[in-house]
């Protein structure tokens, strides 16, 4: 019997009936998409549990932390440094934005031709259905794309704890200086919020914890190079999604446990799909929980996803921070270096991303790349044509998909994905 969390949700001021409806859809989707998969690693049981308690036990844990006077910070972007948050004695939670909600309400505030991700972040607030958002002591926005920048101006009127971080758009000396200054400013804001002065030791510890969780995902990624792929792309994506809101130490341990299991599977030549299943790399916009639409279509059409070139995926997690510095400034420099390598499409020019897609396609033995662009996401859609040209000139087939969170184009998408799989597997 599951614990009744209703009083907890009520205390957060949530809309209980709307929230019930959301959880109903989420559970149904998880059953149909995740639990229907075959040959899953046993270790995924942990993530099944996390998902079943996504708005329950984890929220209770966060509220318990709050009772101990620990602050909760919510963010929407991989540029928000968890190291600083942890060093300040607070907890960072990624706010997911992966489903349509309260669309009519949202469209009173945002133009219709805004991407699903931004609309979703508003929908969860306006619909009062996200306990993470409601329990956050501070919400961090960031100046990435124009859509998000402008949306935060409006969002600022809906919450009383929004902090907006500026970000560079060019990988220049000035750009790096801006990023470092913004990290310094954020550090001060975290110190003010928590009342804790960030020390060298605390920052070193924060870096260690975050490096460990990224390293666990690196280990998982490398294991996916095997054929047969030891884990489905859907399951690996879920681990990358849960990365954003689970307890960091527990997350690291759980991913490493799955990796131990996958190593055995690889030795025994066991896979989530048969050997020689066509392998696909997904590249493009982030897929936040519960946006599993495209991976689900791909993996039920006869292919396996072997990597995600995305913020929820390798773009977001790929580099570790050098933790050898002995002063605050050395450590701040070290992780400014680390974050400055993130090749988000808001940067211009952004050759690094294109190079990384090619590297990933080759490293993971992908037979083809599916570029995933959220409708109206200008930065990624603009990059998709040059990316496609680069890949095809190297003989790597690429298909560009533009879609949103709606389900009305699933039939069309399935035909296109199946035809692409036929194309790359003949």
């Amino acid at each position: 019997m599951r614990e009744d969390y209703t009083p907890m949700w009520e205390s957060l001021g949530m809309d209980l009936s709307a929230h019930d409806a959301l959880l109903g859809v989420l559970e149904q989707g998880y059953r149909d998409i995740y639990l229907a998969q075959k040959n899953r690693p046993e270790g995924m049981g942990y993530f099944d549990f996390v998902m079943s308690e996504v708005h329950g036990l984890r929220i209770k844990e966060l509220l318990d932390e709050k009772k101990q006077n620990r602050k909760i910070i919510g963010s929407y972007c991989v540029f928000v440094p968890e190291e600083i948050v942890l060093a300040g004695g607070a907890t960072l939670i990624g706010l997911c934005s992966g489903a349509d909600f309260a669309v009519e309400e949202v469209e009173k505030h945002l133009p219709r031709n805004t991407c699903s991700l931004i609309k979703s972040s508003f929908g969860f607030k306006l619909g009062k259905v996200c306990p993470y958002l409601e329990c956050a002591d501070m919400i961090v926005g960031e100046n990435t794309c124009d859509g998000k920048k402008k949306a935060y101006e409006i969002f600022a009127g809906m919450v009383d704890n929004l902090y907006v971080m500026d970000l560079p758009q060019v990988k220049s000396t000035q750009g790096r200086a801006l990023l470092k200054e913004e990290f310094e400013r954020f550090k001060t804001a975290v110190e003010e919020l928590t009342g804790n002065k960030i020390t060298v030791e605390a920052l070193k510890e924060g870096i260690k914890v975050v490096n460990a969780k990224r390293a666990a995902l690196h280990r998982l990624a490398i294991l996916r190079k095997a054929d047969p792929a030891p884990i489905s792309g859907l399951d690996a994506l879920l681990a990358n999604q849960v990365f954003f809101y689970d307890n960091p130490a527990r997350f690291t341990e759980s991913v490493n446990k799955i990796c131990d299991e996958l190593e055995v599977r690889i030795k025994e030549n066991q896979g989530a799909f048969p050997s020689k299943t066509p392998r696909i790399l997904i590249s493009g916009c982030p897929m936040a929980v519960p946006n599993w639409k495209l991976p689900w279509i791909i993996e039920t059409s006869g292919a396996v996803i072997v990597g995600e070139e995305a913020c929820v995926g390798e773009r977001g997690t790929r580099n570790l921070t050098d933790d050898s510095g002995q002063s605050l400034d050395e450590l701040m420099e070290a992780f400014t270096d680390r974050y400055f390598k993130v090749d988000c499409a808001i940067f211009t020019p952004n050759q690094e991303r294109s190079d990384h897609i090619v590297d990933m396609a080759q490293a993971y033995g992908a037979n083809g790349v599916i570029h995933y662009g959220l409708q109206f996401c200008q930065p990624y859609i603009m990059e998709s044509i040059p990316v496609e040209n680069t890949l095809e000139n190297l003989g790597i087939p690429c298909m560009r998909i533009e879609t949103d969170y709606g389900m009305e184009d699933v039939g069309q998408l399935k035909t296109r994905v199946e035809a692409f799989i036929e194309q790359i597997s003949d």
Binding site: E408, D409, Q412, T415, E418, A419, E422, Q423
Partner: protein, 250 residues
């Protein structure tokens, strides 16, 4: 060994039987609102050893008939077209509710394709609705447009917007044949764009029901500056390809 291919499209269902690489039977019917009953009807009284389904109803068919296999309409069209035109390197297919462009390599393998997404803009359904609005039957529509002196520009590809554009042109007293030609022209522009996006070169085959429209074929040839190859039964290419793929598997 007799292999069958069935193409369950949004508007029509085609069935082709192949024996020893020769077509021995072709049939066609409307899809209606119950594709599986219609498929049963079209299959009535025929015998085959293996069947492969394609088109948007392929998965429904696979569920209804345990021993059926499926293939996407992209690969099926490529196989069907290469069967009739072994030299083909590109395909434009415009059916009832979708359109696609396909680039093939010398061996006839699909190397790139594009499909319309979400709506039926620029497809057979679009032309059908527009013909109706102008008081033409579908058979009259193409020849009437072809005979027009000039084309009137139509800006909308969306069926709903184009309908109101046509209504206002009619209200201005414009010639309906010229409006018809303008509508064809807008579909052609879109199709040329799709062909360019896959880098279509070399011999191009036009398939799907819309390839039966003489104005579309002529205007495509004019727009591309070369001859367009059209099969005798352009809407049969998907079913033919499915049957040939099935036969090749044996």
């Amino acid at each position: 060994m007799i292999c069958a291919g069935i193409d369950i499209g949004s508007r029509s269902i085609e069935l082709v039987l192949v024996e020893n690489e020769k077509v021995i039977e072709t049939r066609q019917t409307d899809t209606g609102f119950d594709p599986i009953s219609q498929a049963r009807k079209v299959m009535k009284g025929i015998k085959f050893d293996q069947i492969m389904a394609t088109g948007y109803g392929r998965n429904l068919f696979e569920v209804a008939y345990d021993d059926a296999s499926t293939v996407t309409e992209i690969k099926a069209h490529a196989a069907g077209v290469r069967c009739e035109f072994p030299e083909a390197l590109a395909i434009l297919d415009i059916g009832g509710q979708d359109s696609k462009s396909i680039r093939l390599n010398d061996q006839g393998r699909v190397v790139k394709f594009e499909m319309n997404d979400r709506c039926a803009a620029g497809t057979g359904k679009f032309l059908e609705i527009m013909a109706h609005n102008l008081g033409f039957s579908l058979d009259e529509f193409g020849p009437a447009a072809l005979a027009a002196q000039k084309d009137l520009q139509i800006n909308s590809m969306c069926t709903v917007f184009a309908e109101s554009e046509v209504t206002s042109l009619i209200a201005k007293g414009q010639d309906r044949q010229e409006i018809a030609r303008g509508l064809h022209s807008s579909v052609v522009k879109r199709a040329v764009g799709m062909l360019n996006r896959v880098g279509a070169q070399g011999p191009i085959v036009f398939s799907g029901g819309v390839a039966q429209n003489p104005c579309m074929v002529q205007m495509m040839a004019d727009a591309l500056g070369k001859e367009i190859l059209v099969p005798d039964h352009p809407q049969m290419m998907g079913a033919l390809g499915a049957a040939m793929i099935m036969a090749a598997k044996q």
